[in-house]
Amino acid sequence: MQILRKPLQRAYRKAIKLGSKATIDLIKKKGLSGRGGANFPTGSKWEMVSKEKDSEKYLICNADEGEPGTFKDKFIIEKNPEALIEGILIAAYAIKAKKAFIYLRGEYDYLESKLKKAITKIKNRTGSETPIEIVIGAGAYICGDETAILESIEGKRGQARTKPPFPTVRGLYSKPTVINNVETLANVPLAMLYDDWNKNLRLYSLSGNVTRPGVYELPLGTPLCDLIKLGRPKNPIKAVFFGCFGGCIPHCDIPLHPDAICGKECMLGSCTIIAVDEKQSIVDLVTNIAKFYEFESCGKCTPCREGTYRILNILENISMKNADMKDLDTLKELAEVIKETSFCGLGQTSTNHLLNALKYFRSEFEERVKEKKTRKRTAR
C-alpha cells in the first residue's frame, strides 16, 4: 500500500532545503487534496494561511474520526504514525505555525501513547522544535467539524462557528489556522518524496454485511461492485450507505468518484462504504442512523436540534407500526428543511440517508405503515 511507505524523515529534510514557499508549490503541483471529505486542494489552503500577516499561526490535525463506518485514520495512526508526524512537521514548517495540535477522537485515546512515541522519535531525528500537542476529544461527533474543533481546543462547548470568517483567516484563538485530515497529512511526505506517488489513491473503509471488512486502498473511480466483491459478501447486497452522512443508494455499478456519486444525491466524503444485504430492513437501519443524529446533534440550531428528535420519533413510530402515510410526508418535509437550513455540515447532511431511503426504498416504509392498518382491522 502506498500509504504505508516509510519516508524516514527524508521529506522533512527536503522541505527544509526547499524553503516554505517551494514546499507549498510542490504540494500544489503534486495535486494533494483534502481527504476529510471536501477535497479542497491542500497546497492552496496552506498558501492562504502562509500569506496571512499574523505572527501566530496554528496547524491542527483532525483525527476526530467520528463517522460511523470510517476507520482509515485509525489505520494510519496504528500502522504509519511516523509519516503522519513528519507530515505535520512539514505542514507546520510550510505555514510557519507556532504550534501544532492533533485533535484525537476520544475513543482513540489508546493511540495517544503510540502517537507520543512517534512524535519524540521524529522530533529527535529531525531536530524540529515545533511543539505538537495531542488534544483528546470528549466524544462528540460534531467536533469532527473543523470550526467545532477550534471551539473544543479553546475549551468551549463543541459547536460550529459561523463561516465566514473561515479558519484560514480567523481560526484557533482568532489566528489563521490550517486544519488537515490525518490521511492528508500522512500523504504529505509521500507526495513530496516519491515520483510515482498517485494522487488518486484513496483509503476506503469497507464494512457492513461483508466477510472481509477493512481498509482498502483503491484509486478514485473504482467501480463500486469491484470494491464490494473484495469484501466477499455472503448474500447479495441490496444497498450501500456512504457512512451516515453520505446517504445511500441501491447497490449498482457506479464508479466511486465524488462527481458520479453526487449525481445520485449522495456524497463520497471520506470514502466510507457500508454494504447492506437483502436480509436487512432499510427502515430499521435508517432509524438506527436517525438515533445517532438525535444523540449527536450539538443543539445549536433549531432544525437539527428539534428536527432530528422529531424524525427519530416518527421513524420509531413507523418501526413500531404505529404511523400512517401522512407521517411519511412529514418525514420528507422535515428532512428537506433540516438539509436546507441547518447551521453546519452535521445538520445539513444528517438527513441524506433518510431522503435517499425514502426515494429508493419507499416501498419498505409503506409496507411497515400498511402492516399497522391490516393489524388494526383484524383487531376489530
Partner: protein, 560 residues
Amino acid sequence: MNIKINNKKIECEEGKTILQVCKDNGINIPTLCYQENLEPEARCRLCIVETKDGKLITSCSSYPKEGMEIKTNSEKVKRARKVNAELLMPEHMDKCFRENKNHDLCRLIHELGIREVRFDPKKKYKVDLGASVIRDDNLCINCGRCVAVCDKIQSTWAIDFAQRAHHEHVTPYSEKNLNDVACIKCGQCIAACPVGAISEREHLQEVLKVLKDKKKHVVVQTAPSIRASLGEEFDLPPGTLVTGKMVAALRRCGFDKVFDTNFGADLTIMEEGSELLKRIKENKGFPMITTCCPAWIKFMEHFYHDLIKNKNMSSCKSPHEMLGSLIKTYYAKKANIPKEDIIVVSIMPCTAKKFESTRPELKSGVDYVLTTRETARLIEHFNIDFKNLSDEDFDPVLGMSTGAAAIFGATGGVMEAALRTAYELATGKELKSVDFKETRGLDGIKTGKVDLDGKKIRFAVANGLKNARELLKEKDKFDFIEIMACPGGCISGGGQPLPYEKEKIKKRIEAIYEEDKRLPLRKSHENPMIKQIYEEFLGKPLSKKSEKLLHTRYFKRSPF
C-alpha cells in the same frame, strides 16, 4: 454595492448584513435569536432567505455580495420558516393560541399562518423559582439571547447552555437554581427572552391580598423611571410622562398613600453627597462608588471583594429602601399608625429590587416590589381606564421631589444629581448651569472632571456590567464612580415594558430629562421637605439616626 431583493434593485452599504439591508428597505424578516448590538449566532434559522442558486442562507449572519439576488418570501423560504417555527412551537401551542401573548414567537406564528402543530410537547423541566427571576425551561426555545446578554453585556455568566441535542437547555452551572449561583437578578434575561420563558417573581397576588385587608395601611412608592415607561403598557407612545395618571390610577387601586421614590432619591443624594465631602475632607476611601443599583451591589459582592475591604462602596441604601425605612418610622409616628400595620409596596423598573427587599441586613421597610409590567397588570385588574384619567399629585411630605431625583432613572443621573448637590455644599457657591453634559448619553463609559473647592473630582459613569468591569480595571484614575447594571440605567431595567428597543429607551430618557427641566427645584438639597425631615427627625446627614436608618453594610459572596 448593488443587489436585488425580491427582484427590486437595491443599493446597499458594505459591512451591513442582509437582514439590516432588508430592514432599511422596509422588508420585514422574522427573527428570534437576533439581537441588535450583539454578534449574530444564527441559531433559530428563521431569518433565512433564498439566493439565486436556490440555497437558503441566514440573513442575520450573511453579508451581501455584488450582484446578489435574494428572495425573502419564496415558497421554499416560507416552507422552511414554517417548519422551523413549528419545531419550536409544541410547548407554546396552548399558551400562544389561547392567551395571544405579546411575544415574538406568538406574533410569528400568526405572521406565518401556522394553525396547527404536528408535534407533541416533550420538555419536562422543573421551573426554577428564583427570588427575583423565574425560569421555565419548558417554554425555552434555545435561542441563546439570555445567555448572550448574561455573558456579553452583563459579564455575569450566571446561565449557559448544558447538554446537547434536544436535551440542550439553559441553566445555571451543574443544574443549580438561580438562587444558588452568582446571579445578580438584573432581569436583563427577561428583557431578552422572545418567548416569555423567563419572568419576574410576581408579588402581584400578595399585593392584591393586602389591598383587600382593611386593617392594613398600604403605602405605595414609585421609582423615577416608571413615569416615563408605564404609559407604553397602555398603548401610549414611548416617552410619554404619565406621573399624574399613574398616581391617580394607584389611588383607585386602593393604596392609602402614594409616595414618590424621588423623595428617597433626594435623600440619597444628601447622604451620598455628604459622604463624598467627608471622604474629600479625610482624603481617603477613593474612588467612592454609588450604591443605588441592587444588581450592581450583588455583582460587587460576588466579584469585587476588594471594594468592600477598601470601603470604596458608599454605605447608602438605595432610594426606595431609604424611603421604606422612613415610612415605617417617621411617617408611622406622624400618622400615628403602628409600624406593623403599614405595608410598603415599591413600584420599580427592576427585578433586583425584589431580591434586595429580602436582604436581612437591610431590615427592609419595603414589603413588596412590583415591576412596571406587574403594575400595569394591577391597574388592569381594577378595570381602570388609564389613558383617560386626570392627573393627580403625590401625597405630601414624602411625595415632594426635585429634578435631581427625576434623572435617577437614566444612566449618569445619580452622578449628575450628586454633583449638583456636592458642588454647592462644598463651595457654597451657586451652580451656574445644573446640566452636566458629560454624564448624559448612552455610552458605556462616560468620564469627566469637576472642581469642588480646590479638589478636582474625576468622575466616571458606567452602565452595563461589562463596561463596569472595564471601568473598574482603572478605578484608581477616578474619585467618584456611578455604576448601573442595566445598559442605559433603570430606564431599561429588567421590569420595564417589553419588548426592548433602543429607540424606545432613548425616548424614555428624553422624557426623564424633560421632567427634570420642568420642575422648579433641580437640586436635592433645595427640596424643602428634605430640609424639614432633617430638622424634625434625622438631624443632619450622616448623623447617628441616619446611619441607622439609611445606611447599610455589604457581605462577600462566592463568585460561583
